[in-house]
């Protein structure tokens, strides 16, 4: 028992001594003020500091994990050999990630039509836009009231794009700045197929389907749907240089 007490006292004494030695040591910064010219890092007086605020915490973790300083080498070839030797795990396939428990969710089928083709919509849309070069076949009437009932878990079909119908599931509904509401859409495999966003009197959409990427723009219930190729075609002539600039 007595021996145990003495041992405990010794431990406490060592801890107190260490604490006091830290307390009475001049702070590194005091040393910094005294110096006439800046020290280089190699000098014995180099200040030991933690990474500054905002420092990479992962770096600290790595450092704590053990000495991993690379050996000194002076050529690129030696460096590459060292890196290979120090990172054997890079050559070993990583172990598969544990399978997470799957959760089954209930989806709700919804029968709605977001938009329908309307050649007449072009002349109305001209009130809200400049210089519309798209032909009438791209124009649609958009039923904004359908957006009022959209919520995560619902499944419905987009109107045909490039002649193909696409079943989509509302993944998330998110409120954004400008009082905008965005619905992210995925397919039956959970792969993103785009989004619909309502911003004031406008609805913007983007759809990634097998026929390409389609864009939707509607204002006050009228607008157009067109793919990337169509929307870029107007640029092509202008962008293709016939001669080098002056």
């Amino acid at each position: 028992m007595k021996r145990r007490l003495i041992g405990g006292a010794l431990v406490i004494a060592v801890v107190i001594a260490a604490y006091l030695s830290l307390r009475v040591s001049p702070s590194p910064l005091e040393g910094a003020v005294e110096m006439a010219v800046p020290k280089t890092a190699r000098s014995p007086g180099t200040v030991q500091v933690s990474p500054p605020s905002g420092g990479d915490q992962d770096e600290v973790a790595v450092r704590d994990a053990g000495p991993m300083m690379a050996p000194r080498s002076d050529t690129i070839e030696a460096y590459l050999r060292d890196v290979e030797a120090m990172n054997p795990e890079l050559a070993v396939p990583s172990s598969p990630l544990p399978q997470e428990k799957e959760e089954v969710v209930v989806l709700y089928d919804l029968d709605l039509t977001l938009w329908r083709a309307s050649a007449a919509a072009k002349s109305v849309f001209a009130n809200y836009a400049l210089n519309v070069q798209l032909d009438e076949s791209h124009f649609v009437e958009f039923d904004e009231s359908t957006l009022d009932i959209l919520e995560p878990g619902q499944r419905f079909s987009l109107p045909p794009l490039n002649g193909l119908s696409q079943s989509v599931i509302v993944k998330t509904q998110e409120s954004l700045r400008q009082d905008a509401i965005n619905w992210d859409l995925v397919d039956d495999r959970g792969v993103s197929v785009g989004s619909i966003t309502r911003i004031g009197d406008a609805v913007e959409g983007i759809f990634f389907v097998s026929g390409g990427t389609y864009h939707l723009r509607a204002v006050n219930g009228v607008g157009w749907v067109a793919d990337d190729a169509t929307l870029t075609a107007f640029l092509e002539n202008e962008a293709k240089a016939s001669e080098l600039p002056q």
Binding site: N131, V191, S195, I199
Partner: protein, 584 residues
């Protein structure tokens, strides 16, 4: 149109998992969309064959699509302006607006050929994952578009959501070139990322989508950069749809936008033309004052460090740093476990006195073992692919400095440890405001003037005032006359708190010559009958009308004036603070 029935179907239980739903892979999405033309050789290299077969195309461009989604391309997105679809780059967001740069030919304007602004086109900007970032009626700024060298526009749109990275963090503002010299970028790899056609010279158009590519700039046609895909290092060129995309260069750990895709020369031409950004940097700052530039990102202030990214990214082996010729600090190298930091000494000009003073800075280099000394070439497990540099100012290291604005440049030399051919001189700026209250006469703000005590009362006879240090006055040496209602105009060097740039602000300085007459500050006149002690105050004020060219922003500095006796050899330096918020 009616609202249709909602069919609840609880039995509809599929193998669909919540995880799949919530975290549907964006990469898969990207693979469905097919922007950059590449050489036949590169296509063959990526796909194993030169073929328009879907498998080969997906193999080649799948890799380029994935590379285009790297985090440094986070600001790159697609712009739908009117019914034109182009590539564009987010410059930054301020309050309720997002600022986006693209090509002038991608957006509508009614006077594009002049420096102008057009309000009225509806536009949407989306980032790489299709996420909507900005939408609404655009305010579009043109630099004066006539040809490739000025095919640049900045679109201001209502902000819907700020861009975030895969960790949910706000994407940092990209860095734009503002240095007039071009030689540093010539023949250096140029990186492209944009949306548009995929294809090769032989195969032609292969599809659509977002892609990454690497080109090279051999020529600058008066501000129009020619990118030619004609080597192993330069194998990509812009194609239709890529218009408006930024082209980028890595330099000293920074990914710098140097061009805007403007034109292409067809599949067989294997070339694209890019508007050089740097000549437009003053215009860019006018339309978006908070733009991040190379100079701004390499300017040190008392509160914002200089941080350069992974300098080792494009170097084989590790990189360490030495002090440059105008900098006190290490000129040797070491190989040791990284710890601590390195002190640097730089001589900066105290603008109040126009005197050079030694300012102490701290600097660190990053390794996989953490931060350490800058001249330490060590790396740690994982390899030499960091080498980030941080330089900062600590007040406690500089307790002896008098309040003032300290300005100057200094350099660090980046050196390859293993690759000795790598050397880069990194020019950095300092714009450090050292604060202090001791001995300050007063502060001039946008709403409040400052007034000294009647210094005449402290001496025999009268006194007058003169500019000192870097401050300039439009009135010269001492005068004695009775011209009242006058003031001197001072030009004072100040620093914009946000952009960190130096500007000159005009202030009015008047001396009270008697109870009813204000004169220029260099006028020592007194009037008979005035009781000594009732005059001689100096009044300094800011007037917005005197500073029409000063951009909106918060400006701070210290400046000195001298009070000098007319009848005696009285001499005193007076220090003032200026803190003006213009447009706030």
């Amino acid at each position: 149109m009616e609202i249709h029935n909602i069919h609840r179907n609880p039995r509809w239980l599929t193998g669909l998992t919540l995880k799949t739903l919530l975290f549907g892979t964006l990469i898969s999405t990207a693979s469905t969309s097919l922007a950059i033309g590449i050489t036949d050789e590169k296509f063959t290299d990526l796909a194993g064959e030169l073929s328009a077969d879907e498998t080969a195309v997906n193999l080649a461009y799948g890799q380029l699509n994935e590379a285009s989604l790297a985090s440094h391309f986070n600001p790159v997105g697609m712009l739908l302006a009117g019914n034109l679809r182009c590539t564009a780059t987010w410059l930054g967001s301020e309050e309720d607006s997002a600022y986006i740069v693209t090509a002038a030919h991608c957006v509508y304007g009614d006077n594009k050929s002049e420096e102008s602004r057009y309000i009225g086109e509806r536009a949407t900007f989306r980032t790489g994952d299709g996420r909507i970032l900005a939408h609404g009626i655009a305010t579009t700024n043109f630099a004066g578009y006539t040809q490739c060298s000025n095919d640049i526009a900045v679109v201001e749109l209502p902000l819907i959501a700020n861009p975030i990275d895969s960790n949910g963090q706000l994407v940092p503002k990209p860095v734009f070139a503002d240095q007039p010299e071009f030689t540093g970028f010539q023949y250096q790899p140029m990186t492209l990322a944009g949306y548009g056609y995929w294809g090769t010279p032989t195969l032609g158009n292969l599809g659509w989508g977002r892609a990454f590519g690497q080109g090279g700039i051999p020529l600058d046609f008066g501000g129009c950069l020619l990118n030619q895909a004609d080597s192993e290092e330069a194998w990509a060129f812009g194609a239709p749809g890529d218009s408006g995309s930024a082209s980028w260069h890595w330099r000293d750990g920074q990914f710098i936008a140097t061009g805007i895709a403007s034109r292409w020369l067809g599949w067989a031409g294997r070339s694209s033309l890019h508007t050089r950004i740097a000549p437009h940097h003053q215009w860019l700052k006018r339309v978006y004052p908070q733009i991040n530039t190379v100079t701004r990102s390499r300017t040190l202030t008392e509160s914002s460090p200089i941080e350069l990214g992974s300098v080792e990214r494009s170097v084989k082996g590790s990189v360490y740093y030495n002090a440059g010729d105008n900098t006190l600090g290490p000129r040797d190298s070491q190989w040791d476990y990284p710890s601590g930091f390195t002190y640097l000494g730089v001589y900066l000009t105290d603008q109040s006195e126009r005197t050079s003073r030694l300012v102490i800075l701290r600097a660190q280099r990053l390794t996989h073992c953490g931060w350490g000394e800058i001249n330490n070439g060590v790396y740690c497990r994982g390899g030499a692919n960091k080498g980030d540099l941080k330089v900062w100012f600590e007040h406690e290291d500089n307790a002896g400095l008098v309040p003032g604005l300290y300005q100057g440049t200094f350099t660090l030399e980046a050196k390859g440890w293993h690759d000795e051919s790598y050397q880069s001189s990194i020019a950095l700026k300092a714009n450090i405001l050292v604060e202090g209250n001791r001995g300050i006469e007063g502060t001039v703000t946008e709403t409040k003037a400052t007034r000294t005590i009647p210094y005449d009362s402290t001496v025999r006879g009268t006194i007058y005032y003169q500019a000192h240090g870097s401050t300039k006055s439009d009135t010269g040496g001492p005068v004695w006359n009775g011209e009242g209602g006058r003031w001197s105009t001072l030009d004072v060097l100040v620093r914009n708190r946000d952009t960190k740039e130096a500007h000159s602000v005009k202030l009015r300085a008047s001396r009270l010559a008697s109870g009813c007459m204000w004169v220029t500050m260099n006028n020592a006149v007194s009037c008979q009958g005035d009781e000594q002690g009732s005059y001689g105050q100096l009044d300094i004020s800011y007037h917005e009308s005197d500073n029409p060219d000063l951009p909106d922003g918060r400006y701070e500095s210290y400046f000195n004036l001298k009070a000098i006796g007319w009848h005696t050899n009285f001499h005193k330096v007076l220090t003032f603070r200026v803190d003006v918020n213009k447009g706030g």
